[in-house]
């Protein structure tokens, strides 16, 4: 399977994703520069974390205007797998590829710590290597990670099983205390209606190696790989968000 990792000015988790995909997952991977208008041959796109354009104005607001984003739009509308992590999630909501928005953390501070994520449904392309209810322990590192969506949007997300990961405590309970940023319903990550585009604030790529003390985050990448290998595909027509 072949991945590409986008690079915007100010991306800073691009190398981390690249490292995990190549050296841990064992897949082929290359970078795509934000000024490029084509993604080249690829099976999946990673929109990495960081501070694209310094997160000036709003996180992800300026990056969504980059030339490469229209190629990402085309790729997604043909059913290609797209995963946004942290700033990548913010960029994908800004572009409208994912519903909702990410606003300032409840405590107004940048927060970097380990959290527990509960996998909400095991049938997606991003969670297939897990079972529903599995816990993933991985870090968050963000200032604007509070997921917001209006009540109609929330109803729709739930109806379509689009919530993929929620913040919980170590026993898997989604409590206010285990919500690190004030996200609505403890939502940590969602996918689009078609299921081929997903985003999450936590960093599974930082929890994918034994030397870093935690490997459960690798499940997200393994799921994408398994989905690809299963030969399943998204129907291009249904994948518009």
């Amino acid at each position: 399977m072949k991945f590409v990792v986008l690079q915007f000015p100010g991306s800073n988790c691009d190398q981390d994703c690249f490292h995990v995909i190549r050296n841990v997952l064992g897949c082929s991977v290359s970078y795509v520069w934000h000024k490029d208008t084509s993604l080249g041959e690829t099976d999946a796109v990673i929109v990495p974390g960081g501070f694209s354009y310094g997160d000036y104005l709003r996180s992800g607001a300026i990056a969504k205007c980059s030339p490469v984003m229209s190629a990402v739009h085309d790729f997604a509308s043909q059913g290609g797998l797209v995963l946004g992590i942290c700033n990548g999630f913010q960029i994908l909501t800004e572009t409208g590829l994912l519903p909702g928005a990410l606003v300032r953390n409840r405590d107004l501070q940048f927060v970097c710590e380990h959290v527990y994520l509960r996998v909400e449904q095991e049938s997606s392309a991003f969670t297939g290597a897990s079972r529903t209810g599995d816990l993933i322990r991985c870090p968050i590192a963000h200032m604007d990670g509070c997921y917001y969506i209006d009540s109609d949007g929330l109803r729709e997300l739930r109806a379509n099983n689009q919530v993929l990961w929620t913040y919980t405590d170590r026993d898997g309970a989604a409590t206010p205390a285990s919500n690190p940023n004030g996200s609505i319903h403890n939502i940590a990550g969602v996918c689009n209606r078609a299921g081929n585009v997903a985003g999450l604030m936590p960093h599974p790529e930082r929890a994918a190696e034994d030397i870093l003390g935690e490997e459960s985050g690798l499940a997200v990448f393994k799921s994408m790989l398994a989905f690809h290998q299963s030969g399943k595909a998204f129907n291009a027509a249904s994948s518009a968000s």
Binding site: P9, N12, V20, F51, R206
Partner: protein, 774 residues
């Protein structure tokens, strides 16, 4: 524009003495104009010239087999760590700017130290910081603390460098004059070292980065004055604003550019901006340099040559390019959308020549400007206060009663200097770059160096090397240094090295930040001189070079000078990743062993002189810090490292602030940050066998800060192996057993106190947050 004539008044305002002015006249062979005067004043400020400290700093050892670039040669020192890999690291202070505007002051401090690292051709891979503030009971202190921490977070997080360790202390002496010392470390291949030299006559000189504004005007001169209320007010117009996003682009572009081989020399524009970077690069290469200010990108209209030369706008670099290779340079800058401009060229005249609007506005010998700043021997006198602090005897303070022990430990753990610093480090991204192996919360942080930690190589070359693991820590104790400047300096180094040893690594170099008061005051100069001597002795003893550092003088508020605060950043390497040890307890049934010297130097204060406990409970700074015997200190380090290498040690923690009981409690409560297995594990502690400490007062037994002690956790069946192989001069004492949900304390087999771990953890973990939310 009319040029002001140079009056004695103007000379004084520039912080130059009459004698220094005469020297300037002599170098020029004429009167300086105002631009030249400004240039001399910043280059000859303490900040740039170290005129009051250079002679003292000469006593530091600066060489070892690993040193590739030594202290003072370039913007940061570089050490070889084997297999073709090297590290560059340095610490730098931004105390005064942070007092004026905490957020931007701290942010630009981080920006500055990161530039020092990538200027050397290294990719910055992690950062640390050492902070000092007044008491958190003051709203103003809380404002400064909040601002500084978020400023550091803002810059480091956005730039994309993990801030993986640090220290924070709170003491009234820093009220109005916080200390903000930032450390950065980068990695590079040994053949990638870049030089800050303007080599090659005729080579073009490029300016890269955002346009120059009136930012931080005379910041360097400002950092060399006492901070009075008046000067803080005056400096308000001069605040520099950092742009970490820009710096990230500048860094990536510079590393890419260096890989092309088109660069002949490179230097960041830090303090004294364009002035410092031009004359220093020319001086290092023994060349001259000529620049045209009309070509310098400018943000504000009508800037004078004086302002352009002295501006401290951030994120700017000066790059000297091999003639004929300008096109490669342009391509890289344009890829990264960076503003750049060709501003001049290298000459063979030895002069730094500056033109503006077609006229020469400065024409000065580059090397005499950069290297011939006056050097001073200042008067030194033992401070009078020492007679007073030393006249007190420990007998004058009451010992702890048995029923006070419970409360005393709780109070210690909630004392902001000892309490968990998670309120601070959770605001820092401490994991970006996937290299943070040991996160904040243990003695030393550990970073992994892997292929993508390195700067790019020419033509996409890929080089393999075994992953490297580097330990680092920052330490320093202002109260010790106040009570005994020599011993305080020595202990700063010993403690940093001890933290490295306790983590399983061997220290290979240190960088230091000397935060002191006004050197013209003989008593304050004494502190500086003695502390440097103590640090120097310790470094020599451990055989580790000082690879660079920073001096920040004039740290005083209207209430007087700060406690003299030498801060030491130490770096160590692991022979194997299996030697990495963290401080938290691992397993029920394991045994706790106290490793310490078998003999002690006399300490009439039994570890209570300058101890955190003494200050917290009795509000006094008195006595002397417990002496540190360096021979015995090394024996302890060597023993612990050997046991770690033998695979016997499961956890290890040094005793520092708060002494033995606090150290054990920290081992019990800090396990919640363990990534693979977060947990709280209790201990049954029995101090009846703590030999050297037997017969001591209760407070000194529990909270005395004797030096050279490390507590380790071993499996029960490893105890024998450990005691069999014990080296001479070191003793290991069994002090407890791991397990349960409580910390139980017995002294001489009688049970004296018991604490619930959850509540201890709560007090320790939340103490700072609670103060900040008050």
């Amino acid at each position: 524009m009319t040029e002001p004539t140079i009056t004695p008044e103007i000379v004084r305002k520039h912080g130059l003495t009459d004698e220094e002015y005469r020297q300037i006249q002599q170098i020029l062979g004429r009167e300086p104009n105002i631009t030249e005067l400004g240039i001399f004043s910043v280059m000859w400020s303490e900040h740039c010239s170290y005129k009051n400290t250079r002679k003292l700093l000469k006593s530091f050892p600066t060489r070892s087999e690993r040193v590739l670039v030594a202290a003072g040669e370039e913007n940061a020192g570089i050490l070889d760590i084997g297999d073709g890999v090297a590290i560059a690291f340095k610490i730098e202070s931004h105390n005064h700017p942070s007092a004026v505007e905490p957020f931007q002051g701290a942010a630009t401090g981080v920006g500055g130290i990161l530039r020092d690292i990538f200027t050397m051709g290294a990719r910055p891979i992690c950062a640390m910081n050492s902070l000092r503030f007044g008491s958190l009971d003051s709203a103003e202190v809380r404002r400064l603390f909040r601002g500084v921490v978020s400023g550091i977070a803002h810059y480091g997080n956005c730039f994309g460098v993990p801030t993986i360790a640090g220290e924070v202390c709170f003491d009234r002496s820093y009220e109005g004059n916080p200390l903000v010392n930032a450390f950065a470390l980068g990695a590079l291949y040994t053949d990638q070292i870049a030089r800050g030299a303007a080599r090659g006559v005729g080579n073009p000189v490029f300016y890269v980065g955002p346009a120059t504004g009136r930012d931080g005007l005379a910041g360097a001169a400002f950092a060399s004055q006492d901070l009075t209320e008046e000067s803080a007010e005056q400096q308000r117009g001069a605040v520099q604003v950092g742009d970490p996003f820009m710096e990230k682009l500048v860094m990536e572009a510079c590393l890419e550019l260096l890989a092309t081989g088109a660069v002949a020399g490179i230097q960041d524009m830090g303090a004294a901006g364009l002035t410092c970077s031009t004359c220093e690069t020319a001086s290092r290469a023994g060349t001259g340099i000529e620049i045209e200010l009309d070509l310098v990108p400018q943000r504000a209209p009508g800037m004078s040559s004086y302002e352009i030369m002295l501006s401290e706008s951030q994120e700017r670099m000066l790059i000297i390019v091999h003639k004929g290779r300008e096109e490669e340079v342009r391509k890289v800058f344009e890829k990264w959308d960076l503003p750049w401009s060709r501003v001049g060229e290298v000459t063979d005249t030895g002069q730094m020549v500056v033109r503006h609007h077609g006229e020469i506005v400065a024409d000065i010998s580059a090397c005499r400007l950069a290297d011939e700043a006056p050097l001073y021997d200042r008067e030194s006198r033992e401070p009078e206060y020492l007679t007073k602090t030393r006249s007190l005897s420990v007998d004058q303070i009451p010992d702890l009663k048995p029923d006070e022990i419970g409360g005393a430990l709780e109070a210690c753990l909630a004392w902001p200097t000892i309490a968990s610093k998670n309120w601070v480090y959770r605001q820092y991204d401490h994991m970006v770059r996937n290299g943070s192996v040991v996160l904040p919360g243990s003695d030393a942080a550990v970073i992994r160096i892997k292929q993508d930690s390195m700067p790019v190589l020419p033509n996409g070359e890929v080089r393999d090397f075994p992953e490297k693991f580097v330990a680092m820590t920052v330490d320093g104790n202002g109260i010790y240094t106040y009570l005994d400047p020599y011993e305080g300096g020595k202990i700063a180094v010993a403690e940093a090295v001890r933290n490295i040893a306790a983590s399983g690594a061997t220290a290979i170099g240190v960088t230091d930040n000397l935060n002191f008061g006004n050197p013209h005051n003989p008593e304050l100069f004494f502190q500086l001189e003695q502390a440097i001597a103590g640090m120097s002795e310790a470094c020599r003893h451990f055989g580790i070079p000082v690879t660079g550092g920073n001096v920040s003088l004039y740290n005083q508020s209207p209430n007087g000078a700060i406690d003299p605060t030498p801060v030491v950043g130490a770096v160590g390497i692991f022979e194997s990743r299996d030697h990495i040890v963290t401080q938290w307890l691992k397993k029920e049934g394991n045994v706790l062993i106290l490793v310490e010297p078998s003999e002690w130097d006399a300490d009439p204060w039994f570890g209570l002189g300058g101890a955190a406990f003494t200050l917290m409970r009795h509000r006094i700074k008195a006595g002397r810090p417990s002496p540190c015997n360096l021979d015995r200190e090394s024996l302890v380090h060597r023993a612990v490292r050997q046991w770690i290498a033998d695979g016997l040690v499961q956890a290890s923690h040094d005793c520092s602030d708060g002494g033995l009981l606090v150290a054990v409690a920290e081992m019990a409560v800090s396990g919640m940050v363990a990534r693979n297995h977060p947990q709280l594990l209790g201990v049954s502690l029995d101090l009846n066998s703590a030999g050297a400490t037997s017969g001591l007062r209760t407070d000194s037994l529990l909270f005395g800060e004797l030096q050279s002690r490390i507590i380790i956790e071993v499996a029960p069946d490893a105890v024998e192996q450990l005691t069999d192989g014990i080296p001479a001069g070191v003793v290991s004492r069994r002090i407890g057993v791991v397990g349960g949900g409580r910390l139980d304390l017995s002294i001489d087999t009688s049970h004296v106190a018991s604490w619930d771990l959850n509540s201890l953890h709560h007090r320790w973990w939340n103490a700072i947050a609670e103060k900040m939310d008050a």
